[in-house]
Every structure is written in structure tokens, then in C-alpha cells.
Amino acid sequence: MKKIYFALIIACTGLIFLAHTTRLTRGKYGLIVGTAQIKSISSLAFGPDGILFIGDSKSATIFAIDTKDGVANNQAAAIEIKNIDQKIASLLGTEAQNITIQDIAVNPISKAVYCAVQSGDGTPVLFKIEGEKIQAVDTKNIAFSSLALNNAPAEDAKDKRGNSMRVSAISDIGFADGKVLVSGLSGQEFNSTFRSIPFPFTNKQDQATLEIYHAAHGKYETLAPIKTFTTAEIGGRKYLVASYTCTPLVLFPLDDIKPGTHVKGRTVAEMGSGNQPIDMVTMKKGGESYLMMSNSSRPVFKVKYSSIEKYQGSLTTPVEESFATAGVDFVSLPVTNVVQMDKLDDTRMVLIQRRSNGSLDLWTSSERYL
């Protein structure tokens, strides 16, 4: 009998202790210290104060983790790691063929590169790369919060449009104006949901869900899933710059992204056939800003936002014009087979490129590419 009392006392003490620590650790942005149950990492993006957003396709969840990597580095050195896949595979005790690099994101404060890797069996691992040092980021004892994308809408929800679409894959995530932007693809319907989720996450399902249509030549209208996107200011207005799986480059004013709206992107260029957009970043040099876009079977494209702005003048009547091959002027950089890309600072990018000799190298582009 004494034993039972003893066990009860221990259990109660444990519970009190546990409850106490949970309350203590709820920190800035509503993060709680614990184990982030991340099942896969498809996309990475940095938010404020070293908060890293992780798009987990397998559980259709967005995680926000505190990297505690907030020491400013204004003089970031160029990073170069040859055969990065082999080096990471070696750290994981396997060979390069058994791992995939899913995404990279540069912490805009510390300039450290975060790299998501998936092993053949699906286990995700997050690495932090500083100079030549590659180290794993522990997600077991970390301040984090999460938001599930496939929560069923309330039965009495007035507008259920689009919410019923289940996300099977998160194609890209970003952060702008205090909101996490998420493009999700369905394994069933040829459609995408684009959600603009206020951060810190709340329990309210006030995510904006867009219906995105693509109109070719003002004649045929189809739903168009977003593959990758970035945000930029054009002519004093903030825009979402996106590319569909079917390659057109399109613009949406960020103000227009409201729940339940039917939004048509305005096509500014078609980037060719048999090609998939991979990553997009916005860069600046002098007074000029540029959109850089990497592609599955094309070189990296460079587009001046000023030419998009000029071009926009003729786009006041949306979807009526033909932009097939015309579109905005873009320059092809002599860089092909870029599989991952993010911006290091305004003028330099970190790229992972499959070289012609077959090696997969991480390197930093210099200003001259702009």
C-alpha cells in the first residue's frame, strides 16, 4: 500500500513539474520548448529574429522553430563546399545516392546557410552550414510552434471554398509583412492553395485561401498550381511574384490576397517549355532590383523589376493580352543545373549546382552576376 502512495506522490510531483516547465517555456511568438515532430522538410524560409519556417509536406504542417542564431553578420564571407552531398552523406553514415537536398535558406541575420536533407527512408535532417562547418540542428529540444494545413473547416463555415482541398505537398514557403506565405499542391485536384498565415500562429483558421487561375491568351482559363514564389516591391506596391508548374511568371498584389478570393495572376512572361521553375529570389544592386529564377532545364534567369514595372503598364487589362513568348526581357546567366538557390545578401546568392563533372557544389555568386 505504501508503494502505491509513493508512486502517486512521484506521479503528482512529476505532473506539477511538467505543467510548470511548459508554462515557463512559452516564449516570444508563442513558441514552446519541446520536440518538433517534423516528418519531412520540403521547404525552408526565414522569418523574424532567426525564426525558421519549415514546410513539412508529409504531415502538411508548418513549423516555426527558433534557431537562436540571431547574431548579426554584416560581412558574410563567401561559402564554398565542393561535393556537399558526399560530405553530408558521410556525416550521416551513408552514401550521396541515399540522400536528397530538399531546400536551403540563408538566415538573413547570421548569414548561416540552413539545409534540409532527406534520407532514402524519408527521415529528415536539418543542417546548419557556417564556413566549412556542417552541423545538425537539434529539433528535439527546441522552441517551436506549428500549424496544420489540413484542419477541416468548421461545419458551419460560411465560405468553405478551397478549404476542402487537402495539401499533399508544400511547394514553397516565404515570409512577408508578418505573414507566412505557403503554396500547397494537392495530390488529387490540379489546384493549389495559397495561404497567407499570420505569425505568431493562432488557433483561428483565418488563413487566406486563393483560387488561382491562369488564363492563356485570354481564351482558355485553367487552375494553376504555384511552384515557387518570392515577394517584391514594384512601383511602390508589394507583390507576390510567382511561377506556376506550367512555367508562366505571374504577379499578384499582396493586398489582394484575402480569404476566399478568386485571384488571377497577371502573366508577365512564359519561361519556356519542358522546364520547371525551382527557386526565385529578389536581389538589389545600386538602385536596381532583380528577380533571379533558377530552372530545372534552363539556366538561371535574371529579370529587372523595372522592366516588369514598365511592362505592367500594358497589363492594365488583365488576361486579354497575349504574352506567350514576348513577356518581359530576361537575361540567361551562364549558370545551369542549379538545384537550390537563396540570397546571402542583396548582391550575392548561395547556390547548389550540379557541375558538368557530376559533382554537387555549394558556392556563393559574386556581384558580377547582377
Binding site: S42, G93, S164, Q188, C246, T247, G272
Partner: protein, 383 residues
């Protein structure tokens, strides 16, 4: 000459042995042989490094402390390391150590790779070697179904689903799937190489899109390359045996699906045209629905439900039949006489991606009835 041993004549010893006086003592003395033997067996059991299995994944190894010597809990990672066993310099594998009184557990960040050997070091000296066995060939993954099941498909087919018996490696569809036309031409760029790929949650079903940019009329890829499928042609979808499952085991064989193409499907599915076969009341007979065209397999599994006339959901199970041209619903409880509704979510699509409300690529110069409801219903009466 007389031989002497232990102060006795050998002849006398032999005599005593024969009459059984000594035999017992010899038997007793065997205990001194068995004790060290048993002790050495125990020693060898404790020296063995064991693999921890989580299903088919080798996600940890137990290292006996008898191999490493005493290791303080807070400095295991400085003293013990696990490395891949191969020529040349290698680094310690990243992972977590934990310990109890006899064993050290090492959990690598990703499971150990089947077929590879790993060396265990303690104080920079090798103390053990383990090999992770390759998966059993009898457990090779297989393709269980390819949807759509029909062998005649519209030339604007949008999706193909491949169902596997086990969770597969992601990101490998482009190198393992081919579409062959007229038995000899490989159709390049037929499928959208989407990263991340569209898998179900347990990674057993993959959705493949035929390149929508080529299907969408008037888009640049469509104009330059044309649609991936042409009318009245025969095709073979081939799935390479080299596709590996999560554990690295290859498919049991090459799989393929033959089909021929007919003209494009430019009409939305119309539930008004579906035929219903009604069950008798007070039975559990299925209510059967026959469609006027094949319907998307995956959506069919989700978009239909049966309700009573006052809106209550009827519990039961759906079965998809006749190459996705029909389905039936078997209720858990017997049917009552009365009115029922088949609820259909309007996102239900045919094989060309046309849903109940809109076509996959709608000609906006042609006026269409604007449908926006999330559901459509079909009434039926059981009497």
C-alpha cells in the same frame, strides 16, 4: 617395473576406477570446467554489439560497456564513435548516445544503411564491427495497381496514380517511369517532374501529372511540343524495377500498363446521367451507381456520401467497380424504406481533370453557366 602416480601404483588406480571409486570424483571435478565455460559464454554475449530494429529500419545499436570500458554518461560522445567501415579516412556519424549500467545506445540521425558496415571506436581504438543486413528479397515491394484502370483513355488524360505495396523512396519518379508510344518511341517530358512529388501520407501512392503546360491549350509548351498523348495511339507506361523502397529494396519486377487513346474529353462529369440500381428495403444490399464515364479514382474515394432525407449521414462502405465506371455503397445497417440522397462534392473529376462545376481548360469566350456550389445531390427512394 611398477608405474607410480600421486603415490599410488597405476595398477591400483585403474582398479579403483573400474570399481567406480574414482569416477565420481572426476565427475565432480568437471564443475571446474563448466564454470569457466559458462562465464566465458556470458562474456561473449556481453561483447556482442546488437542492432536495434524499428520495423525494417536499423535505427540504433547497443554497445556493451565491456567493449568500451567505463564511460561517464556526460562524455560518451567524446570517447565512443561510430564510423562507416571503408578505406580511407572517415568521420564519426552524427547521432545521439545514451547509456544504462551495461549498455551504450547509439541512435544515428538517419537509420543505418542496409548492406553497409560500421565500425565502433572507443578511445580511438576499434572495438567492434557490425554489418546491416540487406532487406530480405521475399519482401521486395510491388506495384499493386495503376489508375485509371481502363485500357482506353482520353488523349487529354491528366493524372496517373501508382499504388505500391510498401512506402517508396521519394523524388525518383522521373528516372523510373517512362511512357512508350507504339512500342518503340519514348515520349520525353510526358510527366511533370514535380519536386516535391505528390505522395500520400504513407508514401505508398504517387500522383503523376501529365505535363499540364502541354495539355493546356495555347500555352507555349502546348504550342511547341504538343500534348503528351496523341489521339488513336497505343502507349505503354513502364515502371522500372530499379525503383527502391524506403529500405533500398528494388521492385520485384518491371511493371507496365498498356493503353490506347481516344479523342479528348471536353465534358464535365454529369451525375444526372448516372444510373442507380436500388436495393430492397430491410436488407444490406448495395445501392449501385453506374457513371457515364470513368471517374478519377482518388477523388471517387472521398467525394461521395449517402444521407437520409433529413440530412443524416448513413454509415457504410464504398467499393469502386468496373474500372472506375461505377461504385456501390453497402450500409452498415439495413436500409429503411424512404428517401435518400447521394451527396457528391463538385470537385469530383473525370480522367481529364474536368470537375462537376468547370472544365479543366475552359474557353472563356464561350458563355457557360456559372456553377459554384460545393455539392450536388441525387435523390433516390427505397421502397
Amino acid at each position: 617395473m611398477e608405474a607410480w602416480t600421486f603415490g599410488l601404483r597405476v595398477r591400483d588406480i585403474y582398479k579403483k576406477f573400474v570399481i567406480g571409486e574414482i569416477r565420481l570424483y572426476i565427475a565432480y571435478n568437471l564443475i571446474f570446467f563448466f564454470i569457466p565455460l559458462a562465464f566465458s559464454c556470458r562474456q561473449s554475449a556481453e561483447k556482442k554489439i546488437r542492432i536495434r530494429w524499428n520495423g525494417e529500419k536499423a535505427d540504433g545499436i547497443f554497445i556493451p560497456k565491456s567493449l568500451t570500458g567505463d564511460v561517464p554518461a556526460d562524455s560518451i560522445a567524446n570517447i565512443v564513435s561510430v564510423q562507416r567501415s571503408r578505406n580511407g579516412q572517415d568521420n564519426a556519424i552524427l547521432g545521439n548516445f545514451s547509456t544504462d549500467s551495461d549498455l551504450i545506445l547509439f541512435e544515428p540521425l538517419i537509420p543505418f544503411t542496409p548492406g553497409m558496415q560500421y565500425k565502433i571506436f572507443a578511445r580511438k581504438k576499434p572495438v567492434g564491427l557490425i554489418e546491416i543486413p540487406m532487406p530480405d528479397a521475399s519482401g521486395a515491394p510491388s506495384v499493386t495497381s495503376i489508375f485509371p484502370s481502363a485500357d482506353t483513355l482520353p488523349d487529354n488524360l491528366l493524372k496517373v496514380y501508382i499504388q505500391f505495396s510498401k512506402p517508396m523512396r521519394e523524388g525518383k519518379s522521373a528516372e523510373n517511369i517512362a511512357l512508350i508510344k507504339h512500342n518503340n518511341d519514348t515520349v520525353s517530358g510526358a510527366f511533370l517532374d514535380l519536386q516535391p512529388e505528390l505522395w500520400n501520407q504513407d508514401r505508398t501512392m504517387l500522383t503523376l501529372w501529365l505535363d499540364p503546360g502541354r495539355i493546356k491549350r495555347d500555352l507555349q509548351p502546348n504550342k511547341l511540343l504538343g500534348a503528351p498523348l496523341r489521339k488513336n495511339a497505343d502507349y505503354r507506361l513502364v515502371i522500372s524495377q530499379n525503383w527502391q523502397d524506403e529500405q533500398g529494396a528494388r521492385l520485384s519486377k518491371e511493371y507496365s500498363k498498356k493503353f490506347i487513346t481516344k479523342s479528348r474529353d471536353s465534358l464535365s462529369p454529369d451525375p444526372e446521367l448516372w444510373k442507380i440500381r436500388l436495393p430492397a428495403p430491410a436488407t444490406n444490399q448495395p445501392v449501385a451507381f453506374q457513371f457515364n464515364e470513368p471517374i478519377d479514382y482518388s477523388l471517387l474515394n472521398e467525394c461521395l456520401s449517402i444521407r437520409t432525407s433529413d440530412g443524416k449521414s448513413v454509415s457504410g462502405r464504398w467499393e469502386i467497380l468496373n474500372q472506375e465506371r461505377g461504385c456501390h455503397f453497402i450500409p452498415d445497417d439495413s436500409w429503411s424504406s424512404g428517401h435518400y440522397l447521394l451527396f457528391i462534392e463538385t470537385r469530383l473529376e473525370d480522367l481529364a481533370g474536368n470537375n462537376i462545376n468547370r472544365l479543366f481548360d475552359r474557353d472563356i469566350t464561350v458563355k457557360a453557366v456559372n456553377k459554384s456550389s460545393d455539392f450536388t445531390k441525387i435523390k433516390f427512394q427505397i421502397k
